[in-house]
Symmetry: C2
Subunit: 305 residues, 2 copies
């Protein structure tokens, strides 16, 4: 990782981390006088616990890097957009970790939401975060109503049954099943790819990209959305639990289909490199301001956790 990119990433992580507490709000404090206060405070605490737990903020960084590529890193609303997407991501992890789903106790080295709080709270945290994400987009600080609506449309499609939730359904059905490469790709394009891709397209839409730029950035998004999951599968096998912050080999243990299982480890690594090349190719018409996007693609296939 270059020094410049490390700085950029740290800057993005800090920027969204600073924005998130206000975006989450604190429902508990509004009702602090009432008997209802403690329950709302607990929901609020559990939501903050789940969102502010030191993720890598890849999706937020993609929002900022896309804005940077279009020369609009200072445009108002980017923090809200990055925050809303991170909330959708966080809610999906909270629900994925539930006992009825992947049943994970550990996430980023900390107890998952249903372990730190309880299962019912974890279900409600996810539900609340999803609603809040759309509320944030609907109240973005701008008079451009059409752009706000476009973002809501994009995010709701990416998060719903034709996106993230659909991918999770395929993933669950894939436990103990053999998926072929095409089905595995479809699953990941929906489960992880859709939200990564939409982070880029939302930032591009918000920053007024023209339709040629939108299409190129979307090709970039498709490539890295898939390479992200290929690398995740590689990491799941190669890293130990300490580095990973979640149970190592969890997907293998569940007998879930993975890219290394289908392509071999060398084949999976080759695919990641090819997708990185595709991502760079998609950015060929962009100037030096797209350097963070290029670096992000490299970071995605280079990270070890």
């Amino acid at each position: 990782m270059t020094r410049d990119f490390a700085d950029f990433l740290a800057h993005c992580q800090q920027r969204v981390q600073n924005a998130l507490p206000a975006l989450l709000g604190n429902t508990g404090s509004e009702y602090a006088e009432a008997e209802a206060g403690p329950a709302l405070q607990r929901l609020s605490d559990a939501s903050s616990y789940s969102v502010l737990n030191g993720g890598k903020r890849v999706r937020a960084s993609l929002v900022y890097a896309t804005a940077q590529a279009l020369g609009q890193l200072d445009k108002a609303g980017l923090d809200e957009i990055a925050g809303a997407i991170e909330m959708i991501h966080a809610y999906s992890l909270v629900h994925d970790d539930l006992p009825a789903m992947d049943d994970d106790d550990l996430r980023r080295g900390k107890a998952t939401c249903h372990i730190a709080y309880d299962e019912a709270t974890a279900i409600l945290v996810g539900d609340a975060l999803q609603a809040r994400a759309f509320e944030i987009l609907a109240t973005l600080p701008s008079d451009n109503s059409d752009a706000k609506l476009a973002l809501i449309q994009q995010l709701s499609a990416a998060a719903g049954p034709r996106g993230m939730v659909g991918g999770q359904a395929i993933d669950l059905a894939g436990v103990n099943q053999q998926l072929d490469l095409s089905a595995l790709q479809t699953m990941h394009q929906l489960k992880t790819g859709a939200l990564i891709r939409v982070a880029i397209s939302m930032a591009a839409t918000w920053c007024g990209a023209d339709c040629h730029q939108l299409s190129q950035l979307d090709n970039y998004g498709k490539a890295i959305g898939l390479s992200f999951q290929v690398q995740d599968d590689i990491i799941d096998i190669e890293s130990n639990t300490e580095t990973l912050g979640k149970t190592q080999g969890a997907d293998q243990a569940l007998n879930k289909p993975t890219f290394p299982a289908l392509l071999g480890m060398a084949g999976a690594k080759q695919l990641a490199v090819e997708l990185h090349a595709k991502a760079l190719e998609a950015l060929s018409a962009f100037d030096h301001r797209a350097t963070p996007l290029r670096d992000l693609s490299h970071y995605i296939i280079d990270r070890q956790h």
Copy 2:
């Protein structure tokens, strides 16, 4: 129930029931060729099962009755708005019925989603329905972007931690606890009231109500939002499981606070009558076209299931 009102209610139920299948879409069929198809089909089937299960459609009827009160029953978009609200309502029931929440096997006389399918699917169905509801609002057939945004803002606030989900959190914390009347009202204003109230305000906003009308209709919504729950508590004690379509006395069995428990049965019935009077009072400036809204208020405190 008058003949006219019975006809109106049947018409509303039919109208939203006709609209819902297309609004839900069928994700499975889009991927029918791929190996991923069956999992998406199952998610789609479970979503339809949960939404199209013959609810009373009170919230949809409130959308239509409000439009009628404003002389706009034919305005395009009402079916989509009613459908989106019913999807949010259906998702909340699917999640509330989960083992970690109220653990209900029966809903409207049929197996709950996690019984008919499985727990993971039920979690995903709820998540998918919420995303889809916002997608529907973002793509309403109209050029009025500001109105669409206003609806999304209203629904996301009503569904989130300061609304429905917050109310559910208070409800869960209330099991085996003593809430006083004020805390019980806060809980229900959020858990059930917020969505009922927003059905009215969304329809009023969409139909271009002026701010005086909005305020009066919102007062109506506040009153019936609460009377709805008071009557639910009464029904839970007085009806048998067959009439109710869910386990009779379930709230009592969970030792949840209820209005009859706090006020006595006579006191709870008196409160329902007073709230009905308040609802009618809020409509005093409206003409005969608000008759369905008036009848709905009476229906809410008169129904036996």
